[in-house]
């Protein structure tokens, strides 16, 4: 308590359980409509957090706010204790797949290299080191054989893998994913779940929005249920109960086989 603030801050940054990303009474309005109301969160370093809720609950809005893409109407978002006013290079946000122009003449490896564009000097092309790290990232997601294929020729799952590779190549330490499992084949979903585990082991913090309770239960260390504001927040086991889900989805969800989901719970593995 008496020590000077500088060492204390240094200590907090190295502490594995220190919050890396926090929101304080965060509210976001689009015009008159409230998308997110009074959300206070602390995301711990190296955690995997799933954000669940019905359509329009504010999942995407929360991720965009955590990414610094949209500004809070009230409250603030802090990254490593500094107020986040704009996107930070160490926070990687992977938007929903539908945003890109699929007919764009760009290959898989070029797409991944775009992840490095901002840190590559303007007056030269990508060098062999950068190409090597792009290929390594593609290898990570099992897309190395398709490195030279045009992006529009890929399946939905393959495209999502490429976008994950584009995120991995930047080596940021916070990964925010909006609906990474939507429209994606089962092998890709499994690959993502494995990668989450792997990244978490390397100290990467992951937050993802999903509709899929099973994925949330299997892969996250923490589940946050939102519907405009936070309805429940805790371990998947504690939070993903019929009662809380009914409250979150306001009766629009009825059946959830909790015990079946628990069997794949990575919490049991650790």
């Amino acid at each position: 308590m008496i020590s000077s603030p500088a060492p204390a801050e240094a200590l907090r940054q190295t502490d594995a359980f220190a919050p890396v990303l926090t929101t304080d009474h965060l509210s976001i309005h689009y015009g008159a409509r409230s998308a997110l109301n009074d959300v206070s969160l602390a995301i711990e370093r190296g955690s995997v957090t799933s954000v669940l809720g019905p359509n329009g609950a504010g999942k995407s809005t929360l991720l965009k706010a955590l990414a610094g893409v949209i500004a809070p109407s009230h409250g603030d978002v802090r990254f490593r204790d500094a107020i986040l006013r704009r996107p930070h290079p160490d926070i990687i946000y992977i938007p929903q797949r539908s945003g890109a122009e699929w007919t764009f003449p760009i290959s898989v490896i070029e797409t991944v290299l775009l992840g490095l564009a901002r840190r590559t000097p303007r007056f030269r092309g990508f060098n062999s080191t950068e190409r090597a790290s792009a290929l390594e990232a593609l290898d990570h997601v099992g897309m190395l054989p398709l490195a030279d294929v045009q992006i529009g020729a890929l399946s939905g799952g393959q495209q999502q893998r490429v976008f994950l590779a584009r995120a991995l190549v930047t080596r940021g330490d916070v990964l925010l994913l909006d609906e990474p499992f939507t429209g994606v084949d089962v092998p890709t979903q499994d690959l993502f779940l494995d990668l989450f585990e792997d990244l978490r082991g390397r100290g990467v913090t992951i937050v993802f929005a999903t509709h899929d309770l099973d994925h949330a239960a299997r892969s996250s260390t923490r589940a946050i249920l939102i519907n405009n504001s936070i309805v429940a927040d805790g371990t998947p086991n504690a939070v993903l109960t019929q009662d809380i889900l009914t409250r979150t989805y306001q009766g629009r969800i009825m059946v959830f086989d909790h015990h079946a989901a628990q069997q794949g719970d990575p919490g049991n593995r650790s």
Binding site: G31, K64, A67, G68, V69, R86, P87, H88, P89, I92, Y93, I94, P95, Q96, G99, A100, E101, F104, P105, I106, S107, E110, T111, L114, A117, R118, T120, R122, G142, M143, P145, L146, V149, Q150, A153, L154, S155, G157, Q158, F163, R166, D185, V186, P187, T188, L191
Partner: protein, 302 residues
């Protein structure tokens, strides 16, 4: 034959015209690549018309026509960007309102002058044979400047054209780059104005780039091919114009259109005819529908 090819170039005005059309073909081919990929052809059309008041004012006041057009184009592109920020006015609507409004203002200004008729025609259809040395210099400088700016911001503009959400997420100021691109587009249109006129300049932006898209899946190859096609269409058009006595602007655009249809039918991979011919030659049995080679794990779907 050689004599016929060489004949036009004995005249200084044809040399100027040739250099001008090649410069405009290259520049509009490269900028047009992004116009086509971003689907902002309507914006190009709008800008081409919206520079009219700038032309009229510089014509009336005796100022430099290029400068007037550039200023008008920048004002209109910024206004379109600003107005479309309004929640109830989408981008196409803002373009529609400003484009016709500015065009009407230009015509009003022109018709307030006694001798407008001839000049109006030259703005609408270009007057390539009247390109002077100083026009040529202006076109060269503007082209060099805007291609340099495009090169400098190539990664930003590529990222934004490909994936706007991702671009915003990496901290790019998407709106600012949109405005920058519109200014580059406006400058391209102005350089092409005197060559093919403001009605036909749209074709120089769209057609070579659309043709190149049929021929390649690589962005910078597409831009290069588009520039090449623009320049070739310019040269062919100029010859046809010289020997057939038709308006140079329309000859150039018709040449570009013809090249487009050649590619549309005979492009090696994406043509209407070529792949079928090759398919018939190599696969006499109709069964082949090669899907893309998937990664191995894709096959393990239970």
């Amino acid at each position: 034959m050689i004599d016929q090819l060489a004949e036009p170039w004995h005249y200084a005005f044809m040399q100027h015209a040739l250099l001008a059309i090649v410069l405009v073909g290259i520049t509009s081919g490269i900028i047009g690549t992004f116009v086509v990929l971003r689907g902002v052809g309507f914006m190009g059309d709008a800008l081409a018309h919206a520079i009219f008041p700038g032309l009229a004012i510089s014509f009336i006041t005796g100022g430099n026509i290029m400068v007037g057009a550039i200023i008008a184009a920048i004002i209109v592109s910024l206004l379109i960007g600003a107005i479309s920020q309004h929640q109830r006015v989408n981008n196409d609507t803002a373009i529609g309102v400003l484009f016709v409004g500015a065009f009407a203002l230009g015509i009003a200004l022109m018709t307030s002058q006694a001798s407008f008729q001839r000049d109006l025609t030259s703005f609408l259809f270009g007057s390539i044979l009247g390109v002077t040395q100083s026009d040529l210099l202006t076109i060269a400088l503007v082209s060099a400047a805007l291609l340099s700016v495009l090169y400098y911001f190539r990664r930003e503009i590529t990222t934004i054209s490909f994936d706007r959400t991702f671009a915003a997420a990496t901290g790019l100021h998407v709106w600012r780059y949109d405005q920058l691109f519109l200014v580059l587009l406006a400058l391209t249109i102005v350089t092409g104005l005197q060559i093919v006129g403001n009605v036909l300049i749209l074709a120089m932006l769209i057609t070579p780039a659309a043709t190149a898209r049929l021929l390649t899946d690589r962005l910078w190859m597409m831009a290069s091919l588009s520039a090449l096609i623009g320049a070739i269409a310019g040269i062919i058009g100029l010859y046809v114009s010289w020997y057939q006595g038709i308006a140079s602007g329309s000859a150039v655009v018709l040449a570009a259109t013809a090249i487009f249809f050649l590619a549309y039918l005979f492009a090696p991979e994406n043509g209407i005819i070529t792949p079928r011919v090759r398919h018939a030659l190599h696969h006499p049995n109709p069964e082949h529908d090669a899907p893309i080679d998937a990664t191995s794990s894709e096959h393990s779907v239970g």
